[in-house]
């Protein structure tokens, strides 16, 4: 599993201030993607995602730095499909971008809040957009 390496400009391009799609969306449009950083290895992240997929009844497809989860249950807008892409920032530090590929955004968000994040809890260094209550020690 070879994740993509991020250089400084890749990181810069991820900045919310560059994301002009906000201009085109309704103000309270819920985001169908999230990012978090982790000190775990890429393979550890993938294993954890596979574990979660199994518990929540998703099929898993892996390719390079991409893990695709396809829901088996039929939701409000069809099956939920989620993609997690793993990027290497440094060999010991990775960024994971989780995106909804298909299905209902609300169901996706429920999945992230109720299943994904709690299961990944020990692996998550910081979750994008969250105010840090207790700042973790920098690496």
């Amino acid at each position: 599993m070879k994740p993509i390496c991020l250089n400084a400009f890749d990181i810069i391009s991820l900045s919310p201030g560059f994301d002009l799609s906000g201009l085109f969306e309704k103000p309270n449009n819920q985001k169908a993607e999230a990012r978090f950083t982790t000190k775990n290895s890429a393979s550890a992240i993938v294993s954890k995602l596979e574990e979660i997929a199994q518990m929540e009844r998703f099929n898993v497809k892996k390719k390079d730095g991409l893990v695709q989860l396809q829901g088996i249950k039929l939701g409000r807008k069809g099956q939920l499909a989620i993609e997690a892409e793993i990027f290497e920032v440094t060999p010991t530090f990775h960024m994971v971008e989780v995106k909804k590929r298909a299905g209902d955004t609300l169901e996706y968000q429920n999945f992230c809040t109720k299943e994904l994040r709690p299961s990944l809890k020990d692996m998550i260094w910081t979750w994008q957009g969250e105010q840090q209550q207790q700042l973790p020690q920098p690496l």
């Binding site: 993509i4 991020l6 250089n7 400084a8 400009f9 890749d10 990181i11 810069i12 391009s13 991820l14 900045s15 919310p16 201030g17 560059f18 994301d19 002009l20 799609s21 906000g22 201009l23 085109f24 103000p27 309270n28 990012r35 950083t37 920032v89 440094t90 530090f93 960024m95 260094w125 910081t126 979750w127 994008q128 957009g129 969250e130 105010q131 840090q132 700042l135 973790p136 920098p138 690496l139």
Partner: protein, 213 residues
């Protein structure tokens, strides 16, 4: 045809003229005009997008500060008169169109990242931008990690080894690493007419709106 323009903008450029200079069709421009109207009237209805209205549109919060939103705003505001007018809006958005040539995106990105307009992107500017990104996203990396990332990037990009990236080096680097231009394409712009209906039918014509056929 059927376009709706406000009185205050009657001296604005003809959409077909703008269309020729951009990747947008006249229909796209009519659709984008609806977006422009929405954004430019969100705080003060004066036909221009102010910095606060831009921030409001991007973040849902007119007071939210962002280094990158500032840079984008400055790039859009060709005349540097503190507001984005319709022509500037369309021509700048055109850079983000999927069909715009890579070379234009590369040039735009260089100017965007050349924070102090020195025709070079220096280490300190890159560091400033990385730190700003982390801050704005509530992500944390140690100083050593940030340094290591910047060192590695400069190793690859700074071919002349002078501690800064010039336009030539940037072109090489961006061509080899097209992902760095990811933020310069909004796929959405290809389908703009389906999101913002370009022909607005109004039964009661407001005083200041004129319909040109």
């Amino acid at each position: 045809m059927g376009c709706v323009w406000t009185k205050g903008q009657s001296r604005r450029e003809d959409p077909s003229v703008i269309a020729d200079q951009t990747c947008f069709s006249v229909k796209d421009i009519e659709a984008l005009y609806e977006l422009f109207r929405k954004l430019s009237s969100s705080i003060i209805d004066d036909g221009f997008i102010s910095k606060e209205e831009f921030q409001l549109g991007l973040f849902g919060n007119s007071k939210k500060q962002s280094l990158f939103a500032d840079r984008i705003f400055d790039m859009f505001d060709f005349k540097h008169d503190g507001v984005i007018e319709f022509g500037e809006f369309i021509k700048s958005l055109s850079i983000f169109h999927p069909s715009t040539p890579q070379s234009e995106k590369i040039a735009f990105a260089f100017q965007l990242y050349d924070l102090r307009q020195t025709n070079y992107i220096g280490r300190d500017e890159v560091k400033e931008m990385v730190m700003a990104m982390l801050n704005e996203s509530d992500l944390i990396l140690s100083d050593e990690t940030v340094q290591a990332i910047i060192d590695k990037t400069f190793e690859e990009a700074d071919l002349k080894g002078d501690g800064k990236i010039d336009m030539e080096e940037w072109k090489e680097f961006a061509t080899r690493n097209p992902t760095v231009l990811k933020n310069l394409t909004i796929p959405y712009l290809k389908d703009i007419t389906t999101t913002f209906p370009s022909f607005v039918l109004r039964s009661e014509v407001e005083d200041e709106i004129y319909v040109f056929s």
